[in-house]
Subunit: 269 residues, 2 copies
């Protein structure tokens, strides 16, 4: 029987850990009593992350948790690190710096094992930096709360768990519309996905479903009629015309192959 | 000879007053040595506004400035206030609270005189609150840096100098994409115009041209295929699908009747 890749749970940061815990509860449900690896690799100092998630998941009845951290890149080839990933139901990348994840585990045995877990049906979740790193090309350190300036390249290769998209997080809260549109302008093959805090996109079988209290913004530049991203002087503000945009809230779905949203009310609409 | 309405210079706030002064220089040029009224009405305490603009316009060679302030609504019917508006070339509304402008001069002789100045070809400029108040329906006190929540109505009637649009300012800087899309969702007849700081849209003859260092965002909901704005519970995040969006930077133009942008490179493109 051919294996089907597992779900991706892409979280925009600051998910509720103390009240409803809608998003973490969904993750706990998908793990179904199995072991979840909390990968705190994005953080330069991992202290505290694991404990706060142990508390939140404990309250949700999920107690089989292990922490995966790498102090330096060579740690990502050790048998100790690989043993942590044996027989697990899923991996959850916590927040910090997405570049730390990609630079410390990219193209190592640990990354290969995580890709295998996903390919075999395991769930891969990530919040904040852990969300950004899932995409093929990821955003790194672009300015928030301003219009994109031509020549500001803030992209690097991510883990590629999801293709043809570029993900941004803390989206409305940090005013990141400008930088996501700027990223999409460079090559509209990539669909821009901006995820608010306490909000997630659960991607499975080519369809994403929105969970949580905020919105997911989809920026589709496929029909853009003009952009100055390759022409203008570096300090110029971005110009791009005819971008299609969707604001998706809880229950809405998005079909990646068709690049089309569906409301909960009209699942085929 | 029939009169042609004058230009509107709609500024997103924090326009450069000390360096290039591109936007204020454009306004000074349009006044052409005539008198400019600095209307500081948006401010609860007008002290300081007039002086800072006197300095900036003085450096641009425009010295015939008078200040118009109203302490209370009854001031807007006085012959003193009306005398300040006699024979002027233009009126510039400074920042503060747009509701103070609409509530203190709306439907008064002062407002009528300002509309007459515009109708007769005079320039009307406004920055920040002075920009918002120009539209038919204006945004008031909506939350920044978050996705729009259904039921958050933060709109009030503006001066209506420009029809069928709703204007927001400090746009990228304060993360106001969510609230402008929310406003547009209520009735896509209104085109959403979000203007960055130190950026302006100069509207004349049904065409807007972008000036300054940032961008103007146009949010067009005409082709939206779904929105939950009338359905969902009040605390729900907005959902709207198939919004068309344009990011316009310096030199780009927008044709309001056609709802179409043009790049500077292709004026008829």
């Amino acid at each position: 029987m051919p294996e089907t890749p597992g779900p991706l749970l892409i979280i925009g940061g600051h998910e509720d850990k103390e009240q409803d815990r809608e998003i973490l509860g969904k993750l706990a449900g998908m793990v179904q009593g199995g072991r979840l690896v909390i990968a705190t690799i994005a953080s330069h100092k991992p202290e505290g992350y694991f404990d706060s998630y142990r508390e939140a998941f404990g309250a949700l009845g999920l107690s089989d948790l292990v922490e995966l951290y790498v102090h330096e890149r060579s740690d990502s080839s050790t048998s100790e690190a690989l043993a942590l990933l044996d027989g697990v139901a899923g991996v959850f990348f916590t927040g910090g710096d997405q570049l730390r994840i990609s630079s410390q585990i990219g193209d190592t045995p640990v990354e290969k094992r995580i890709q295998e877990i996903h390919a075999a049906g395991g769930v891969i979740a990530g919040t904040s930096a852990g969300a950004s790193v899932m995409s093929e090309t990821m955003l790194v350190k672009g300015a928030s709360s301003e219009t994109y300036r031509i020549g500001e390249l803030h992209m690097a290769p991510g883990l590629g768990l999801i293709r043809d998209v570029i993900i941004d997080q803390h989206f409305a809260e940090r005013g990141r519309y400008g930088r996501l549109v700027g990223a999409v302008a460079h090559n509209p093959r990539l669909l821009g996905i901006g995820i608010d805090e306490d909000t997630a996109l659960l991607v499975q079988g080519g369809v994403g479903e929105v969970l949580g209290s905020g919105a997911v913004y989809v920026v589709d530049g496929e029909e853009a009629s003009y952009s100055n991203v390759a022409e203008a002087r570096a300090e110029c503000a971005l110009s791009i015309h005819d971008v299609r945009m969707h604001v998706l809230s809880g229950g809405n779905r998005f079909d990646f192959a068709a690049r089309r949203p569906h409301s909960a009310a009209r699942p085929n609409g």
